[in-house]
Symmetry: D3
Subunit: 252 residues, 6 copies
């Protein structure tokens, strides 16, 4: 089985650490390939970044189908472009945020998300609500951390996360912690050891869910919402997205 | 890895067919054992049946911990006793209804549940709402089928399901169908072939999620809601549940 | 009129104090009988306890129908087994939690529940949400009190409740307090006197609602959700629940 | 015990039939007095009517306190002015809509309201949602009936109600019917006999709840939302409402 | 274009300051006339005041139609009588609370309302929920201010508002502030300058929305909920409201 | 005042008809300029199209700020990229869907949206829910129409819309119709004339709201969610979006 993890940002160090997280839990026989799009933001910390990374995510899924992947993972904790990515392929596409929410629900009754800078709180709360987890997610806790701070100062980042996670336990009655950034993957085990409750990184959750769905031989429903995109012209720099659509329909 | 599937009803033919469904998707190395409690209803079609099967489910989880299982599955599409079962063990416990909802959410935007007799509609809708899937589940569709009709007249049962599933597609815009009874597992593939959209049986979904969570080495949060039960006396025929609690706490 | 109050736990001292609370508000002509099931937990402080007390509650309702009761009250503030109890009888069955919520809604716009140990917060919040009172109940406040602490140290329990109730008034803007444990009944009047707002014990609310519904000659709807349970076999120690079902249907 | 039922409209024939309904279920020792305000609409079938009847309702509660009533009932199925009425008295004030919703919840899992002309559907749905019963009320069904048609042609009105109630059972899976107009009280028993499920008139429900709350010696919370109105001047034709406020505060 | 702003209370100093606020943003060609009803409360700070001011609001709209107004604004931050006012005219009727909510939603993702005395919190929260803004409005913050304090001590009122608005920014993460009383209009600019985020007074928002809707030549839907009131008799002091209804229908 | 209407698709005939709609309601002194992005899909009928048009929308807003526009309108009935567009400018940005919802709420209690092909139903329902209008929008009705069918066969398109709008009135009790595609603007008046209820095109609603907000001198809150994007590098074909960010912050 080949799983393509798409890091929606273009910071390759982060892509590599995401890849490492994915490989750390993959079963023998599961090949993990992590990539970044060829264009887009170095990190995702706003609606602006989210909308500007989504075309690259979609492109990587389309390329992936030609390369024979069995499943895709969108590895940014806002699941950017997820619904669109599902339209362009039959293969399962999983967001790391949703993966962490489903996994957490099996392990704990209530949980908090600990994430990066304050401006994304609204974005994540809207996502959580759309997924139906508004009651299980007690709080979306932001920190002063920028996404790329993890690479620059891992120890400082861990300390900031640790403090906020402890506040989640003490003040939110959180029974599990969800790490709200793909870059936090490396800290999950250490924090879990310290806190004594599940600390979930979405990347590893998504890899295991991808394996599960592929082994069930399930494919994305093409009946209505996630049908292949309509055949149409794309103008200018995005002309190739029109051509690719035709390709997709031919594959049906 | 050893997974114990608990069929909350006491009809052993059904336990066997659930076991077969589970084994059909288990990985090499995953041992599936399916059991029924030693006491309780022959089928589950009401709140009455649900509350009277739950103690047996709990008991099987407690016994399972002594037998060294790695995960538990509650294989009735109302997930009876699920929260209580999580309290008595560190191992992950998964309900087939929740497993089908998480899996369906990866594959389709909206879906309908097709289940047994009309009286359980309220029970399932309340469950769906509690899980946060009230918007994704377009409809809970009941049929005239009793749970045990599947064993008695499989062809008739399949025909009834087929008709109701077709109505779900035509009238609800369902993009996937969730089979709302563990006994329907055997029909999933045939219906999926006919309908051309994902048709999900919760048993197989739960087995794959159980494997995933076990491979992530995650255990149930013992911080608050799912703490081990308090040590206390149980009267009369349930005296052993008090003793078992003590055992559980010792294991902590 | 004969009302049977079922204390779902098996601590008879508590059953007696519940009985006293019920009798204190019963009208002349209303006979109150309080019982505990013959099997089950000494107190109810978890999902585990809740699911293990429910069969005993159901059994007491079934026995009650043979004894000629006019109504039933489930006297634990999680209303355990309530929906199932309604299935087995034509007579009205009332939970003390719902009774307190309806009564409070007549007297105040917003209110808080003050209850026992923290682990049951999720359970009560889910119940409140299912009853539709998620907006009126501002907070579910837990305390360090175990259910049986009330019998052991009534003064200490009262002091703990007093403090938490005061916090509810100061921090939640609660306009009434709902006592979230049947064992707290004896403290309601004293706390109400001190706080100057309604303090509601569910037992007395339920007794008055039971009298009201009986005098309206209303019986439980047997049309769909609360139909009598289907006739079926029960295995092992619960075999008698199958027989009782047959009895129930005969009574229809 | 003296209960004042306020028919918010000024049609005295209807006030009399509401009074009869109330007396039919009152206990010995409960005195029922039904009145209409001295000013306002002949019937209530719009927001316009609702807002123009509310001052009269409020006035009747204020007068009632001088006359020594123990509880008040607002007998129009939109509960007009209910929150304001609670502000002006310590005595419990109950709306017939809320009374029917609480009573129905004890007897059935889901129910439909059958009411008058289509334009009030939005008004009733908003009320149901505000009370938290949006999930239990499956449908608010309107008919071509005007409120006063019941007096003019009782047989025709009954036939129209019967048909719509049957549709509620067949199409909504309603397990109980709530009569959405105080004027329908006289039809409840006949419809219940025919349909075989509870058919609830709010007037009788409210009388029994009023008796219950009075016997519990409970009064309206004066802590925040339902405090007595602030002392202030009222201009013009409503000057007396200012004076009355002063009176109310004096009583505190 | 002629816009009639109805200050639902009868304090003419306040009507004048509302008028000034309205005129300050009106376009050339927009005539603003602000009035108070001839009867009703001097300020609106409870359900009592709200229900007793609504008839006056309705009357002013009816009078306005004879005077040839193009739109109406209900200038109290609870939008009292709004739905009823829409029934009696074809012209658009806008509440200042809804106007502030729509405008704020264009400018900010989350916002808090800062308003008068604590007792109206429930009333405003219910209104916000009914308008669908329960998630965007993070908090309804009350102050010790009475409505008429603004006229008596403008500087003190401003200081109180400033403090509460700062708390909203610091504690609620409010990205805009909505002034929850028509009398606060004069403070909006100063507070906005200090806080650096949008501070919205509903009066000016409503004037601009009224101009917009009138220029679109849109009128109130008369199809169902907002149909003209039914023709009927009104008793006593409100007899004229019956006559007016007839007038309204004639105009259709 | 200069308002830039951004048609997110690249079909210039449609941009022109949107421009005409906008100009038809603009005040004297309001300059309307309508544009399409330089890259992206010819029409928007899926999540794929939505995510691939959003970068072009963002770019047009950024260009617009250099050109001195006072407000922006996103003229596709899914409001694609709206939140991101708000991040990059101080000027108000309005989506035509939200504009139609706010306007409709002033005119009618309940309404239906009539839109293009069935696959976008989920997308629009999610948007409506996020805006908080899930209760006011009774139904999202799709048709067999593709976006560009309007240009190809206007009469056929009108006939299809007419039929679906009539169904909305008859079956949904819709009191107003919202046209769920910018290309439908030209049909609004004719349909409104025929149906006798408000028929709202979002483009004209948005133009009037834009004028209103600009005249109020209000700008987008830069406090948290809609802060200017963080300064960062963008890779590949989107490198210019990084540079533009720097520009934006300089402007602060």
């Amino acid at each position: 089985m080949k799983i393509k993890i798409i890091n929606p940002n273009t910071t390759l160090e982060m892509t590599e650490s995401i890849s490492a997280a994915g490989r750390s839990v993959a079963r023998q026989g599961t090949e993990i390939v992590a990539v970044s799009p060829s264009f887009g933001p170095a990190s995702i910390e706003s609606y602006y970044d989210e909308f500007l990374c989504a075309p690259g995510v979609i492109e990587e899924v389309r390329l992936g189908d030609r390369e024979g992947y069995d499943a895709y993972i969108v590895a940014c904790y806002g699941d950017p472009g997820l619904h669109a990515a599902r339209e362009v392929t039959l293969r399962p596409v999983i967001g790391i945020a949703e993966a962490s929410l489903y996994t957490a629900s099996i392990l704990a009754a209530r949980f908090s998300i600990v994430t990066v800078i304050p401006r994304i709180k609204t974005m994540l709360e809207e996502m959580v609500e759309n997924y139906g987890f508004g009651r299980k997610v007690v709080n979306v806790r932001t920190t002063p951390l920028y996404v790329l701070d993890v690479e620059k100062d891992p120890e400082g980042a861990l300390e900031t996360l640790r403090e906020e996670a402890r506040r989640a336990v003490a003040e939110d009655d959180a029974e599990a912690i969800l790490l709200g950034c793909a870059g936090f993957a490396e800290f999950a085990d250490e924090l879990e050891g310290e806190l004594g409750i599940p600390v979930l990184d979405g990347v590893v959750c998504a890899v295991k869910l991808a394996e599960a769905v592929v082994e069930l031989s399930k494919t994305t429903s093409k009946s209505k919402t996630y049908r292949f995109p309509e055949r149409k012209t794309f103008a200018g720099a995005f002309a190739r997205f029109g051509a690719e659509t035709a390709h997709a329909e031919a594959a049906e």
